[in-house]
Amino acid sequence: MSDKTVELMNPHLETARSDYLYHLDINVANTRDTSELQNRFGDVRVICMGGTGSRMRQLALYLRDILVVSESGDPVDLCERGNRYAMYKVGPVLCVSHGVGSSSFSVVLHELIKLLKYARCQDPVLLRIGTCGGLGVPPGTVVASKNAFNGLLRNEHEIAILGQRVVRPAQFSEDVIRDLLAFGVDANDGFQTISANTMGTDCFYEGQGRTDGAICEYSEKDKMEFLQKCHDLGIRNIEMEASMFASVTQKVGVKAGDVCVTLIDRLKGDQITITIDQKHEFEQRPFFVVGRYIKRLLQQ
């Protein structure tokens, strides 16, 4: 059997005696003997990530049912002492919160990828599950992201490293997308699941062309022109994490997917006006899609 563990492109980790995943509050006391971490996390096949701890807790409860994991009581937050992110384990699945936006997500993503390496997890898949604005699709549509575009409408993610601009490609794994649509969709769902391009911005208001922010220096006409341009690129949803998530996972060579439900059609307005009950129902939809995908993945 071939080794499908995560390889890290960081030579400095090879020489470091210990590592501390600060925001997760996980200490790797000896990087040459990670048997404790392997015992705790070595069986992990999937890491699901979403914005809030409460939603990840709900996902954990949902997965417990469909994966028939025999645990009782409240799911335990393994990273509670880190104070930043929540982490729940359901058999071979981790459910981890990532906060809002690329900055917050990139912190925990680096630490999770290191965890996958230290725990020697086999052939892991990383999935983001969340909510988003839609673009020409009805509220409640589930979108599996293909190419992630940034706010400049380029299919890339940019960060500054040592004072220089670094640009990286941002595509999600084709096989993950294919399998999400093949196994995650049920004819009786009552909602549509599609694959499309996604725009990930760093700013919810101005960056997404909203006209209801505290500050707004463009017109409704400018906004509609921009949204139409996005739509022409095959973008059907807008959120705040996709381009970073795609670029980091692509760089590391880990399989990843992004599955979000739309709460609004931005071509028809800026403010989210669905009821709280509708929102709760919509938020469950990516759970169904991802749940079926994971179930099938674990059977292979």
Partner: protein
């Protein structure tokens, strides 16, 4: 023997009653002052209806209701002027727990706490993203990590200030950071925020185009906060300096311990030394958006962070949790002193309060968290 016991009980009871009266009187005086300040604020609002905020979205007037989605509030179900109109300070920090603790601390420091059972409610629980606590004229909010997260909160808080017709609110971010050439535990008050390419601008992408906004912070506010530091009593240093705001914790901050890393320790050291030579004192992840948005809205803003390590000496945080907890309180203490100083700049007037002021306190309206104290004072 029994007579002696009765006598002791009586004395103790008399002492306790005396102490309680003193506490109630002090609270009444405090409330009277706050009520007077609020009334003055209201009068000013009526006189000059123009808001002190500027550069705001001209469409805000038309948003009925305005839905502050991530705060779980909207202008239809909440009377913003009534609930938030008295707000003078908005303090924000990363985690909900830390900001809840700060809210209780502020309650104590500005004298609003009546008894140990006073409970604060998370006003934004419905939004599920941020926590929001109100302590009289002070709002305490969590903002998560990074500019994308804090910018959402800032847009919605600025809209709240607008709808509530708040007068000259001050925004303060309180948090932790990595230090550059400073002793761990040092408090840094930011003069300006610079980006990963060392420019004092916050770049956002609007309609597919890069737009840059200046990221200077209010100089006089930074000085006022620094003046609240006591070099003799406080066991730490407080400095004003530049702050690097990175959008990435690992590569953006030149760490060697990320999941991947494509530069050498020498390159990292060279970069950090460049930062040091440009008077950068710390690195964090929110100050650019904070500085740019508060500046654009004409809101005085300050960023006050404690450095939890010196990045010139290593990348990983090795300080024990209990020490970190103490350090985290340092910016909170400093900011609380500043707030108290502003609220009670006429401290000498305390003893000259008239009984009619206490009656005025009894008639107070005020925000959620002030109703209970008034009732109990009565």
């Amino acid at each position: 023997m029994s007579k002696s016991n009765c006598s002791d009980c009586t004395c103790r009871l008399a002492n306790e009653v005396g102490q309680l009266k003193a506490i109630v009187n002090a609270q009444s005086r405090t409330l009277a002052k706050l009520v007077r300040q609020m009334k003055e604020g209201c009068k000013k609002d009526e006189e000059a209806k123009e808001s002190t905020l500027c550069g705001l979205n001209p469409c805000l007037k038309c948003l009925q209701p305005d839905i502050l989605y991530h705060l779980g509030l909207n202008t239809e179900t909440t009377d913003f002027p009534k609930v938030f109109g008295d707000v003078r300070f908005v303090c924000m920090g990363g985690t909900p727990g830390r900001m809840e603790n700060f809210a209780y601390y502020v309650m104590q420091e500005i004298g609003l706490k009546i008894n140990a059972a006073t409970k604060l409610r998370n006003i934004s629980e419905a939004g599920q993203r941020f926590s929001l606590f109100k302590v009289g004229p002070v709002l305490c909010a969590s903002h998560g990590m990074g500019c994308p997260s804090i910018s959402i909160l800032l847009h919605e808080l600025i809209k709240m200030m607008y709808h509530a017709k708040c007068k000259d609110p001050v925004f303060i971010r309180i948090g932790t950071s990595g230090g550059i050439g400073v002793e761990p535990g040092t408090v840094i008050i930011s003069s300006e925020a610079i980006d990963g390419r060392l420019n004092p601008v916050h770049e956002i992408l609007v309609h597919g185009v890069s737009v840059q906004h200046a990221s200077q912070l209010d100089e006089s506010l930074a000085d006022e906060i620094k003046m609240c530091h006591d070099p003799c009593k406080d066991k730490y240093e407080a400095v004003i300096g530049r702050t690097l705001c990175a959008h990435d914790f690992y590569e953006g901050q030149s760490r060697l311990d990320g999941a991947f890393c494509e530069y050498t320790p020498e390159m990292k050291k060279s970069y950090l030394e460049t930062l040091q030579s440009q008077q950068v004192k710390n690195i964090e992840m929110e100050s650019l958006a904070f500085a740019a948005l508060t500046s654009r809205a004409n809101i005085r803003g300050a960023v006050v962070c404690v450095a939890i390590l010196n990045r010139l000496n290593g990348d990983q945080i090795k300080t024990p949790h209990d020490v970190l907890s103490k350090w985290e309180k340092r910016p909170q203490e400093l900011v609380a002193r500043y707030i108290r100083k502003v609220l009670y700049h006429n401290d000498d007037d305390d003893e000259s309060e008239q009984p009619e002021d206490e009656a005025e306190a009894g008639a107070a309206g005020g925000g959620d968290t002030q109703k209970a104290p008034v009732e109990e004072a009565e």
